[in-house]
Protein backbone atom coordinates (compact mmCIF):
# COMPACT_ATOMS: atom_id res chain seq x y z
CA UNK A 1 0.00 0.00 0.00
CA UNK A 2 1.14 3.51 -0.79
CA UNK A 3 1.60 6.26 1.78
CA UNK A 4 -0.42 8.81 -0.18
CA UNK A 5 -3.31 6.46 -0.71
CA UNK A 6 -5.69 8.68 1.27
CA UNK A 7 -5.06 11.92 -0.60
CA UNK A 8 -5.48 10.09 -3.87
CA UNK A 9 -8.30 7.82 -2.75
CA UNK A 10 -10.90 9.64 -4.83
CA UNK A 11 -8.93 9.51 -8.05
CA UNK A 12 -7.90 5.94 -7.37
CA UNK A 13 -11.58 5.01 -7.03
CA UNK A 14 -12.69 6.62 -10.28
CA UNK A 15 -9.75 5.26 -12.27
CA UNK A 16 -10.54 1.77 -11.00
CA UNK A 17 -14.17 2.21 -11.93
CA UNK A 18 -13.20 3.31 -15.45
CA UNK A 19 -10.72 0.44 -15.83
CA UNK A 20 -13.40 -2.18 -15.17
CA UNK A 21 -16.31 -0.59 -17.04
CA UNK A 22 -17.90 -2.73 -19.77
CA UNK A 23 -16.97 -1.92 -23.37
CA UNK A 24 -18.44 1.34 -24.67
CA UNK A 25 -20.32 2.20 -21.49
CA UNK A 26 -18.19 5.18 -20.43
CA UNK A 27 -18.29 6.62 -23.96
CA UNK A 28 -22.08 6.32 -24.06
CA UNK A 29 -22.47 8.16 -20.74
CA UNK A 30 -19.93 10.84 -21.62
CA UNK A 31 -21.26 11.55 -25.10
CA UNK A 32 -24.86 11.68 -23.91
CA UNK A 33 -24.06 14.52 -21.51
CA UNK A 34 -20.94 16.35 -22.69
CA UNK A 35 -19.09 17.55 -25.75
CA UNK A 36 -15.70 15.88 -25.66
CA UNK A 37 -12.95 18.43 -24.96
CA UNK A 38 -10.00 18.75 -27.34
CA UNK A 39 -6.84 17.07 -26.23
CA UNK A 40 -3.27 16.38 -27.24
CA UNK A 41 -1.69 12.98 -26.74
CA UNK A 42 1.10 12.56 -24.26
CA UNK A 43 0.96 8.84 -24.96
CA UNK A 44 -1.42 7.56 -27.63
CA UNK A 45 -3.38 4.43 -26.69
CA UNK A 46 -1.21 1.32 -26.61
CA UNK A 47 -2.00 -2.30 -25.82
CA UNK A 48 0.24 -4.31 -23.54
CA UNK A 49 0.20 -6.82 -20.73
CA UNK A 50 0.52 -6.82 -16.97
CA UNK A 51 1.86 -9.80 -15.07
CA UNK A 52 -0.66 -10.72 -12.38
CA UNK A 53 0.76 -12.08 -9.15
CA UNK A 54 -0.78 -14.31 -6.53
CA UNK A 55 0.53 -15.52 -3.18
CA UNK A 56 1.30 -19.12 -2.23
CA UNK A 57 -1.43 -20.23 0.16
CA UNK A 58 -3.21 -16.91 -0.45
CA UNK A 59 -0.98 -15.07 2.03
CA UNK A 60 2.59 -16.31 1.50
CA UNK A 61 5.33 -15.73 -1.06
CA UNK A 62 4.28 -13.98 -4.29
CA UNK A 63 4.37 -15.88 -7.58
CA UNK A 64 3.60 -14.99 -11.19
CA UNK A 65 0.14 -16.30 -12.06
CA UNK A 66 -0.09 -15.13 -15.67
CA UNK A 67 -0.64 -11.97 -17.67
CA UNK A 68 -3.69 -9.91 -18.58
CA UNK A 69 -4.19 -7.45 -21.42
CA UNK A 70 -4.26 -3.75 -20.60
CA UNK A 71 -4.66 -0.61 -22.72
CA UNK A 72 -3.19 2.68 -21.55
CA UNK A 73 -2.87 6.26 -22.74
CA UNK A 74 -2.23 9.77 -21.44
CA UNK A 75 -3.53 13.08 -22.76
CA UNK A 76 -3.58 16.78 -21.96
CA UNK A 77 -6.58 19.10 -22.15
CA UNK A 78 -6.16 22.66 -23.56
CA UNK A 79 -6.19 23.97 -19.94
CA UNK A 80 -3.13 21.81 -19.22
CA UNK A 81 -4.85 19.12 -17.15
CA UNK A 82 -3.38 15.66 -17.69
CA UNK A 83 -5.57 12.57 -17.78
CA UNK A 84 -4.47 8.91 -17.66
CA UNK A 85 -6.32 5.86 -18.84
CA UNK A 86 -5.34 2.36 -17.70
CA UNK A 87 -8.07 -0.13 -18.55
CA UNK A 88 -8.51 -3.88 -18.83
CA UNK A 89 -8.49 -5.51 -22.25
CA UNK A 90 -7.60 -4.30 -25.72
CA UNK A 91 -9.83 -1.24 -26.09
CA UNK A 92 -8.13 1.89 -27.43
CA UNK A 93 -11.32 3.94 -27.79
CA UNK A 94 -12.33 3.11 -24.21
CA UNK A 95 -8.84 4.00 -22.92
CA UNK A 96 -9.14 7.41 -24.58
CA UNK A 97 -12.52 8.03 -22.95
CA UNK A 98 -11.17 6.88 -19.57
CA UNK A 99 -8.29 9.36 -19.83
CA UNK A 100 -10.68 12.15 -20.85
CA UNK A 101 -12.91 11.46 -17.86
CA UNK A 102 -9.86 11.30 -15.58
CA UNK A 103 -8.77 14.72 -16.86
CA UNK A 104 -12.26 16.26 -16.67
CA UNK A 105 -12.57 15.07 -13.07
CA UNK A 106 -9.66 17.39 -12.24
CA UNK A 107 -11.38 20.45 -13.75
CA UNK A 108 -14.36 22.56 -12.56
CA UNK A 109 -16.56 20.12 -14.53
CA UNK A 110 -15.84 17.43 -11.96
CA UNK A 111 -19.21 17.53 -10.19
CA UNK A 112 -21.10 17.26 -13.47
CA UNK A 113 -18.90 14.40 -14.66
CA UNK A 114 -19.39 12.61 -11.39
CA UNK A 115 -23.16 12.99 -11.61
CA UNK A 116 -23.56 11.98 -15.24
CA UNK A 117 -20.74 9.48 -15.76
CA UNK A 118 -19.20 8.07 -12.59
CA UNK A 119 -22.32 7.68 -10.48
CA UNK A 120 -24.35 5.84 -13.14
CA UNK A 121 -21.27 3.70 -13.84
CA UNK A 122 -20.86 2.82 -10.15
CA UNK A 123 -24.59 2.11 -9.82
CA UNK A 124 -24.49 -0.25 -12.80
CA UNK A 125 -21.43 -2.02 -11.38
CA UNK A 126 -23.03 -2.37 -7.94
CA UNK A 127 -26.26 -3.69 -9.43
CA UNK A 128 -24.40 -6.29 -11.51
CA UNK A 129 -22.39 -7.39 -8.47
CA UNK A 130 -25.48 -7.57 -6.27
CA UNK A 131 -27.31 -9.73 -8.82
CA UNK A 132 -24.41 -12.15 -9.04
CA UNK A 133 -24.02 -12.28 -5.27
CA UNK A 134 -27.76 -12.93 -4.89
CA UNK A 135 -27.56 -15.82 -7.35
CA UNK A 136 -24.62 -17.25 -5.41
CA UNK A 137 -26.51 -16.81 -2.13
CA UNK A 138 -29.42 -18.78 -3.56
CA UNK A 139 -27.03 -21.75 -3.95
CA UNK A 140 -25.90 -21.61 -0.31
CA UNK A 141 -26.57 -24.88 1.47
CA UNK A 142 -28.85 -24.73 4.51
CA UNK A 143 -27.87 -27.74 6.57
CA UNK A 144 -30.35 -29.23 8.97
CA UNK A 145 -29.83 -32.09 11.36
CA UNK A 146 -32.33 -34.90 11.75
CA UNK A 147 -33.63 -35.11 15.30
CA UNK A 148 -31.94 -38.00 17.10
CA UNK A 149 -34.19 -38.38 20.11
CA UNK A 150 -34.63 -36.22 23.22
CA UNK A 151 -32.07 -33.69 24.38
Amino acid sequence: MKDHIDTNADRKAWMGLLAKAPEGQVAALLDANFTRPDHTWLRPPEIGSVMVRGRAGGTGAPFNLGEMTVTRCALRLPCGTVGHGYIQGRRKADAEVAALVDAMMQTPQADMVRTHVLTPLADARDAARATRAAKAAATKVDFFTMVRGDD
Binding site: P62, F63, M68, Y86, A137
Partner: protein, 362 residues
Amino acid sequence: MYVAVKGGERAIENAHAWLAEERRGDVNVPELSVAQIREQMALAVNRVMAEGSLFDPDLAALAIKQARGDLIEAIFLIRAYRTTLPRFGTSEPIATDTMACDRRISATFKDVPGGQVLGPTFDYTHRLLDFKLAADGDVADAPQRETDQADVPHVTDFLNREGLIEEAPHDDTVPRDLTREPLEMPADRPLRLQALARADEGFTLSLAYSTQRGYARNHAFVGELRIGTVDVEMDIPELGFAIDIGEITITECESVNQFTGSKTEPPQFTRGYGLVFGQTERKAISMALVDRAMRWEELGEDNVGAPVQDTEFVLYHSDNIQATGFLEHIKLPHYVDFQSELELVRKLRREAGAADMQEAAE
Protein backbone atom coordinates in the same frame (compact mmCIF):
# COMPACT_ATOMS: atom_id res chain seq x y z
CA MET B 1 20.24 -31.87 -40.30
CA TYR B 2 18.40 -29.12 -42.11
CA VAL B 3 18.67 -28.45 -45.83
CA ALA B 4 16.77 -25.78 -47.75
CA VAL B 5 14.41 -27.42 -50.19
CA LYS B 6 12.33 -25.67 -52.82
CA GLY B 7 8.82 -26.66 -53.76
CA GLY B 8 5.58 -27.27 -51.99
CA GLU B 9 4.44 -23.62 -51.94
CA ARG B 10 1.32 -24.25 -53.95
CA ALA B 11 0.47 -27.37 -51.97
CA ILE B 12 0.82 -25.39 -48.73
CA GLU B 13 -1.33 -22.52 -50.01
CA ASN B 14 -4.02 -24.91 -51.13
CA ALA B 15 -3.88 -26.80 -47.86
CA HIS B 16 -4.45 -23.56 -45.95
CA ALA B 17 -7.32 -22.58 -48.22
CA TRP B 18 -8.95 -25.95 -47.61
CA LEU B 19 -8.31 -25.57 -43.87
CA ALA B 20 -10.23 -22.26 -43.94
CA GLU B 21 -13.10 -23.94 -45.75
CA GLU B 22 -13.17 -26.90 -43.38
CA ARG B 23 -13.02 -24.54 -40.41
CA ARG B 24 -16.16 -22.83 -41.63
CA GLY B 25 -17.86 -26.19 -42.21
CA ASP B 26 -21.26 -26.43 -43.87
CA VAL B 27 -22.17 -22.89 -44.96
CA ASN B 28 -25.84 -23.72 -44.48
CA VAL B 29 -25.12 -23.86 -40.74
CA PRO B 30 -24.84 -20.38 -39.18
CA GLU B 31 -21.28 -19.27 -38.44
CA LEU B 32 -20.16 -19.06 -34.81
CA SER B 33 -19.30 -15.60 -33.57
CA VAL B 34 -16.42 -14.96 -31.19
CA ALA B 35 -18.95 -13.57 -28.69
CA GLN B 36 -20.94 -16.82 -28.88
CA ILE B 37 -17.84 -18.84 -28.08
CA ARG B 38 -16.90 -16.47 -25.25
CA GLU B 39 -20.35 -16.70 -23.68
CA GLN B 40 -21.37 -20.28 -24.40
CA MET B 41 -18.06 -22.16 -24.46
CA ALA B 42 -16.84 -20.29 -21.38
CA LEU B 43 -15.01 -23.20 -19.77
CA ALA B 44 -13.03 -23.85 -22.95
CA VAL B 45 -12.23 -20.12 -23.03
CA ASN B 46 -11.11 -20.34 -19.40
CA ARG B 47 -8.80 -23.24 -20.10
CA VAL B 48 -7.21 -21.41 -23.02
CA MET B 49 -6.68 -18.33 -20.85
CA ALA B 50 -5.19 -20.39 -18.00
CA GLU B 51 -2.77 -22.44 -20.10
CA GLY B 52 -2.17 -19.62 -22.59
CA SER B 53 -1.26 -17.63 -19.47
CA LEU B 54 -3.11 -14.53 -20.67
CA PHE B 55 -6.40 -13.31 -19.24
CA ASP B 56 -8.45 -12.01 -22.17
CA PRO B 57 -11.71 -13.87 -22.87
CA ASP B 58 -12.24 -12.32 -26.32
CA LEU B 59 -8.78 -13.33 -27.52
CA ALA B 60 -9.17 -16.84 -26.13
CA ALA B 61 -12.53 -17.19 -27.89
CA LEU B 62 -11.01 -16.00 -31.16
CA ALA B 63 -8.17 -18.50 -30.76
CA ILE B 64 -10.67 -21.34 -30.22
CA LYS B 65 -12.52 -20.36 -33.38
CA GLN B 66 -9.31 -20.15 -35.39
CA ALA B 67 -8.10 -23.48 -33.99
CA ARG B 68 -11.38 -25.23 -34.84
CA GLY B 69 -11.82 -26.10 -31.19
CA ASP B 70 -8.36 -27.66 -30.78
CA LEU B 71 -7.58 -26.16 -27.37
CA ILE B 72 -3.84 -26.82 -27.43
CA GLU B 73 -3.62 -25.13 -30.83
CA ALA B 74 -5.64 -22.23 -29.38
CA ILE B 75 -3.29 -22.03 -26.38
CA PHE B 76 -0.37 -21.96 -28.83
CA LEU B 77 -1.97 -18.97 -30.63
CA ILE B 78 -2.42 -17.13 -27.33
CA ARG B 79 1.16 -17.82 -26.21
CA ALA B 80 2.44 -16.53 -29.57
CA TYR B 81 0.31 -13.39 -29.33
CA ARG B 82 1.44 -12.78 -25.74
CA THR B 83 5.05 -12.50 -26.80
CA THR B 84 4.16 -9.52 -29.05
CA LEU B 85 2.84 -7.45 -26.14
CA PRO B 86 4.99 -4.93 -24.29
CA ARG B 87 4.75 -5.56 -20.57
CA PHE B 88 3.54 -2.49 -18.68
CA GLY B 89 4.35 -3.87 -15.27
CA THR B 90 3.45 -6.30 -12.54
CA SER B 91 0.39 -6.27 -10.34
CA GLU B 92 0.26 -6.29 -6.58
CA PRO B 93 -0.45 -9.87 -5.47
CA ILE B 94 -4.20 -10.35 -5.77
CA ALA B 95 -6.12 -10.52 -2.47
CA THR B 96 -8.15 -13.69 -2.81
CA ASP B 97 -9.79 -13.16 0.59
CA THR B 98 -11.66 -10.22 -0.99
CA MET B 99 -13.00 -12.40 -3.81
CA ALA B 100 -16.63 -11.89 -4.86
CA CYS B 101 -17.38 -15.62 -4.73
CA ASP B 102 -19.66 -17.36 -7.20
CA ARG B 103 -18.76 -20.62 -5.55
CA ARG B 104 -17.08 -21.45 -2.28
CA ILE B 105 -17.08 -24.86 -0.69
CA SER B 106 -15.11 -26.69 1.96
CA ALA B 107 -15.00 -30.47 2.11
CA THR B 108 -13.48 -30.37 5.59
CA PHE B 109 -15.73 -28.07 7.62
CA LYS B 110 -19.47 -28.03 7.20
CA ASP B 111 -20.26 -24.85 9.08
CA VAL B 112 -17.72 -22.41 7.70
CA PRO B 113 -18.53 -18.70 8.13
CA GLY B 114 -19.84 -17.53 4.78
CA GLY B 115 -21.36 -20.95 4.20
CA GLN B 116 -21.13 -23.59 1.53
CA VAL B 117 -22.00 -21.82 -1.72
CA LEU B 118 -22.37 -24.24 -4.62
CA GLY B 119 -22.42 -21.75 -7.49
CA PRO B 120 -23.00 -22.76 -11.13
CA THR B 121 -21.60 -26.28 -10.76
CA PHE B 122 -21.86 -29.58 -12.66
CA ASP B 123 -21.70 -31.37 -9.29
CA TYR B 124 -24.92 -33.18 -8.40
CA THR B 125 -26.08 -33.20 -12.02
CA HIS B 126 -26.92 -36.70 -13.25
CA ARG B 127 -24.61 -36.57 -16.26
CA LEU B 128 -27.45 -37.53 -18.53
CA LEU B 129 -27.50 -35.91 -21.94
CA ASP B 130 -30.03 -33.11 -22.01
CA PHE B 131 -31.75 -33.26 -25.38
CA LYS B 132 -33.60 -30.04 -24.65
CA LEU B 133 -30.32 -28.24 -25.37
CA ALA B 134 -30.46 -29.59 -28.92
CA ALA B 135 -33.54 -27.45 -29.47
CA ASP B 136 -33.62 -23.69 -29.14
CA GLY B 137 -35.02 -22.66 -25.83
CA ASP B 138 -35.17 -19.89 -23.33
CA VAL B 139 -33.51 -20.33 -19.99
CA ALA B 140 -35.30 -19.41 -16.79
CA ASP B 141 -33.65 -16.75 -14.63
CA ALA B 142 -31.57 -18.22 -11.82
CA PRO B 143 -33.16 -17.78 -8.38
CA GLN B 144 -31.78 -15.06 -6.13
CA ARG B 145 -31.59 -14.65 -2.40
CA GLU B 146 -30.77 -11.69 -0.20
CA THR B 147 -27.14 -11.41 0.83
CA ASP B 148 -24.96 -9.13 2.88
CA GLN B 149 -22.05 -9.39 0.38
CA ALA B 150 -19.38 -9.34 3.09
CA ASP B 151 -15.86 -10.53 2.28
CA VAL B 152 -15.56 -14.26 2.71
CA PRO B 153 -12.50 -15.17 4.82
CA HIS B 154 -10.34 -18.15 3.91
CA VAL B 155 -11.30 -21.33 5.70
CA THR B 156 -7.75 -21.89 6.95
CA ASP B 157 -7.64 -18.40 8.52
CA PHE B 158 -10.25 -19.00 11.16
CA LEU B 159 -9.66 -22.70 11.61
CA ASN B 160 -6.07 -22.28 12.56
CA ARG B 161 -6.64 -21.02 16.09
CA GLU B 162 -5.22 -24.23 17.50
CA GLY B 163 -2.20 -23.92 15.25
CA LEU B 164 -2.91 -27.31 13.71
CA ILE B 165 -2.72 -26.05 10.15
CA GLU B 166 0.50 -24.91 8.62
CA GLU B 167 0.64 -21.13 8.06
CA ALA B 168 1.64 -19.33 4.89
CA PRO B 169 3.61 -16.42 6.36
CA HIS B 170 3.68 -13.11 4.52
CA ASP B 171 6.68 -12.68 2.28
CA ASP B 172 7.65 -10.09 -0.30
CA THR B 173 10.46 -11.84 -2.15
CA VAL B 174 10.33 -10.94 -5.85
CA PRO B 175 9.49 -14.21 -7.63
CA ARG B 176 11.42 -15.59 -10.57
CA ASP B 177 9.53 -15.40 -13.87
CA LEU B 178 9.80 -18.28 -16.32
CA THR B 179 8.56 -16.06 -19.15
CA ARG B 180 11.66 -13.91 -18.70
CA GLU B 181 14.36 -16.43 -17.85
CA PRO B 182 14.85 -20.09 -18.69
CA LEU B 183 13.29 -22.55 -16.27
CA GLU B 184 16.28 -23.75 -14.28
CA MET B 185 16.51 -26.19 -11.40
CA PRO B 186 16.27 -26.09 -8.49
CA ALA B 187 12.87 -24.42 -8.78
CA ASP B 188 11.57 -22.76 -5.62
CA ARG B 189 7.89 -22.88 -4.76
CA PRO B 190 6.89 -19.58 -6.46
CA LEU B 191 8.47 -20.75 -9.71
CA ARG B 192 6.79 -24.15 -9.41
CA LEU B 193 3.43 -22.46 -8.86
CA GLN B 194 3.90 -20.29 -11.96
CA ALA B 195 4.68 -23.36 -14.04
CA LEU B 196 1.73 -25.29 -12.61
CA ALA B 197 -0.71 -22.41 -13.12
CA ARG B 198 -0.07 -22.65 -16.88
CA ALA B 199 0.56 -26.39 -17.03
CA ASP B 200 -1.51 -28.77 -19.13
CA GLU B 201 -4.69 -29.70 -17.31
CA GLY B 202 -4.55 -33.34 -18.31
CA PHE B 203 -0.94 -33.78 -17.22
CA THR B 204 -1.58 -32.02 -13.91
CA LEU B 205 -4.72 -34.07 -13.31
CA SER B 206 -2.89 -37.35 -13.96
CA LEU B 207 -0.07 -36.47 -11.59
CA ALA B 208 -2.53 -35.42 -8.89
CA TYR B 209 -4.41 -38.67 -9.42
CA SER B 210 -1.19 -40.65 -9.13
CA THR B 211 -0.43 -39.18 -5.73
CA GLN B 212 -3.98 -39.76 -4.55
CA ARG B 213 -3.64 -43.40 -5.55
CA GLY B 214 -0.45 -43.87 -3.59
CA TYR B 215 2.61 -42.68 -5.51
CA ALA B 216 4.06 -40.47 -2.74
CA ARG B 217 0.75 -40.80 -1.02
CA ASN B 218 -1.00 -37.50 -0.44
CA HIS B 219 -4.34 -38.02 1.19
CA ALA B 220 -5.71 -34.58 0.54
CA PHE B 221 -8.99 -32.92 1.41
CA VAL B 222 -10.26 -29.83 -0.31
CA GLY B 223 -9.96 -27.43 2.61
CA GLU B 224 -11.46 -24.76 0.41
CA LEU B 225 -12.36 -24.22 -3.19
CA ARG B 226 -13.51 -20.81 -4.35
CA ILE B 227 -14.35 -19.31 -7.72
CA GLY B 228 -15.10 -15.66 -8.30
CA THR B 229 -13.71 -12.28 -9.24
CA VAL B 230 -10.92 -10.25 -7.70
CA ASP B 231 -9.61 -6.80 -8.51
CA VAL B 232 -6.14 -6.50 -9.98
CA GLU B 233 -4.21 -3.55 -8.60
CA MET B 234 -1.03 -2.13 -10.06
CA ASP B 235 1.26 0.68 -9.02
CA ILE B 236 1.29 3.33 -11.75
CA PRO B 237 4.64 5.14 -11.69
CA GLU B 238 3.37 8.25 -13.49
CA LEU B 239 0.61 8.63 -10.89
CA GLY B 240 2.63 7.70 -7.84
CA PHE B 241 -0.09 5.41 -6.49
CA ALA B 242 -1.78 2.11 -7.28
CA ILE B 243 -5.12 1.73 -9.06
CA ASP B 244 -7.34 -1.17 -10.05
CA ILE B 245 -6.56 -1.95 -13.66
CA GLY B 246 -9.13 -4.69 -14.00
CA GLU B 247 -11.04 -7.57 -12.54
CA ILE B 248 -10.36 -11.23 -13.26
CA THR B 249 -12.17 -14.48 -12.60
CA ILE B 250 -10.04 -17.06 -10.83
CA THR B 251 -10.30 -20.41 -9.11
CA GLU B 252 -8.42 -21.00 -5.87
CA CYS B 253 -7.98 -24.32 -4.09
CA GLU B 254 -6.39 -25.01 -0.75
CA SER B 255 -5.82 -28.66 -0.09
CA VAL B 256 -5.28 -29.85 3.44
CA ASN B 257 -3.16 -32.92 4.09
CA GLN B 258 -2.72 -34.91 7.22
CA PHE B 259 0.95 -34.90 8.15
CA THR B 260 2.36 -37.02 10.93
CA GLY B 261 5.44 -34.86 11.29
CA SER B 262 9.00 -35.26 10.14
CA LYS B 263 12.53 -34.57 11.38
CA THR B 264 11.91 -30.85 10.94
CA GLU B 265 8.16 -30.30 11.28
CA PRO B 266 5.63 -31.16 14.04
CA PRO B 267 2.49 -33.20 13.29
CA GLN B 268 0.00 -30.82 11.68
CA PHE B 269 -2.10 -30.32 8.62
CA THR B 270 -0.05 -29.12 5.67
CA ARG B 271 -1.37 -27.26 2.67
CA GLY B 272 -1.14 -27.34 -1.09
CA TYR B 273 -2.16 -24.40 -3.23
CA GLY B 274 -3.84 -24.06 -6.58
CA LEU B 275 -4.64 -20.78 -8.31
CA VAL B 276 -5.77 -20.68 -11.93
CA PHE B 277 -7.34 -18.12 -14.29
CA GLY B 278 -11.06 -18.57 -14.94
CA GLN B 279 -13.52 -21.13 -13.65
CA THR B 280 -11.15 -24.09 -13.79
CA GLU B 281 -11.66 -26.16 -10.67
CA ARG B 282 -10.39 -29.53 -11.88
CA LYS B 283 -7.10 -27.85 -12.73
CA ALA B 284 -6.95 -25.86 -9.47
CA ILE B 285 -7.52 -28.94 -7.30
CA SER B 286 -4.93 -30.89 -9.32
CA MET B 287 -2.45 -28.03 -8.96
CA ALA B 288 -2.90 -27.97 -5.17
CA LEU B 289 -2.18 -31.70 -4.90
CA VAL B 290 0.87 -31.54 -7.13
CA ASP B 291 2.15 -28.44 -5.32
CA ARG B 292 1.83 -30.26 -2.00
CA ALA B 293 3.58 -33.38 -3.28
CA MET B 294 6.51 -31.35 -4.63
CA ARG B 295 7.03 -29.80 -1.19
CA TRP B 296 8.40 -33.09 0.17
CA GLU B 297 11.90 -31.73 0.61
CA GLU B 298 10.89 -28.58 2.47
CA LEU B 299 8.68 -30.63 4.82
CA GLY B 300 11.36 -33.24 5.44
CA GLU B 301 9.42 -36.11 3.83
CA ASP B 302 11.08 -39.08 2.16
CA ASN B 303 11.58 -39.08 -1.57
CA VAL B 304 10.00 -42.38 -2.53
CA GLY B 305 10.85 -41.86 -6.20
CA ALA B 306 7.29 -41.09 -7.25
CA PRO B 307 6.93 -39.13 -10.51
CA VAL B 308 5.07 -36.30 -8.76
CA GLN B 309 7.99 -35.76 -6.37
CA ASP B 310 10.42 -35.29 -9.24
CA THR B 311 10.19 -31.52 -9.69
CA GLU B 312 12.45 -31.48 -12.71
CA PHE B 313 10.42 -34.19 -14.44
CA VAL B 314 7.12 -32.49 -13.63
CA LEU B 315 8.09 -28.96 -14.61
CA TYR B 316 9.94 -29.91 -17.78
CA HIS B 317 7.00 -31.93 -19.07
CA SER B 318 4.00 -29.94 -17.86
CA ASP B 319 3.90 -27.32 -20.60
CA ASN B 320 1.71 -28.52 -23.45
CA ILE B 321 3.09 -25.98 -25.93
CA GLN B 322 6.68 -27.08 -25.40
CA ALA B 323 5.54 -30.70 -25.49
CA THR B 324 3.46 -30.41 -28.63
CA GLY B 325 6.15 -28.38 -30.36
CA PHE B 326 8.75 -31.04 -29.84
CA LEU B 327 6.39 -33.91 -30.44
CA GLU B 328 4.81 -32.59 -33.61
CA HIS B 329 8.01 -31.41 -35.21
CA ILE B 330 8.87 -35.02 -36.01
CA LYS B 331 6.13 -35.05 -38.66
CA LEU B 332 7.89 -32.26 -40.56
CA PRO B 333 10.39 -33.24 -43.26
CA HIS B 334 13.36 -35.13 -41.86
CA TYR B 335 14.35 -36.54 -45.25
CA VAL B 336 18.06 -36.01 -44.81
CA ASP B 337 18.18 -37.30 -41.23
CA PHE B 338 16.30 -40.36 -42.32
CA GLN B 339 18.49 -40.81 -45.40
CA SER B 340 21.59 -40.94 -43.21
CA GLU B 341 19.97 -43.45 -40.85
CA LEU B 342 18.94 -45.54 -43.83
CA GLU B 343 22.56 -45.54 -45.04
CA LEU B 344 23.71 -46.59 -41.58
CA VAL B 345 21.24 -49.49 -41.32
CA ARG B 346 22.17 -50.68 -44.82
CA LYS B 347 25.85 -50.56 -43.89
CA LEU B 348 25.25 -52.48 -40.64
CA ARG B 349 23.26 -55.11 -42.49
CA ARG B 350 25.99 -55.46 -45.13
CA GLU B 351 28.56 -55.94 -42.38
CA ALA B 352 26.34 -58.43 -40.53
CA GLY B 353 25.73 -60.29 -43.80
CA ALA B 354 29.45 -60.40 -44.55
CA ALA B 355 30.18 -61.73 -41.05
CA ASP B 356 27.52 -64.46 -41.48
CA MET B 357 29.05 -65.54 -44.78
CA GLN B 358 32.46 -65.59 -43.17
CA GLU B 359 31.13 -67.80 -40.33
CA ALA B 360 29.40 -70.13 -42.79
CA ALA B 361 32.60 -70.39 -44.81
CA GLU B 362 34.53 -71.32 -41.68
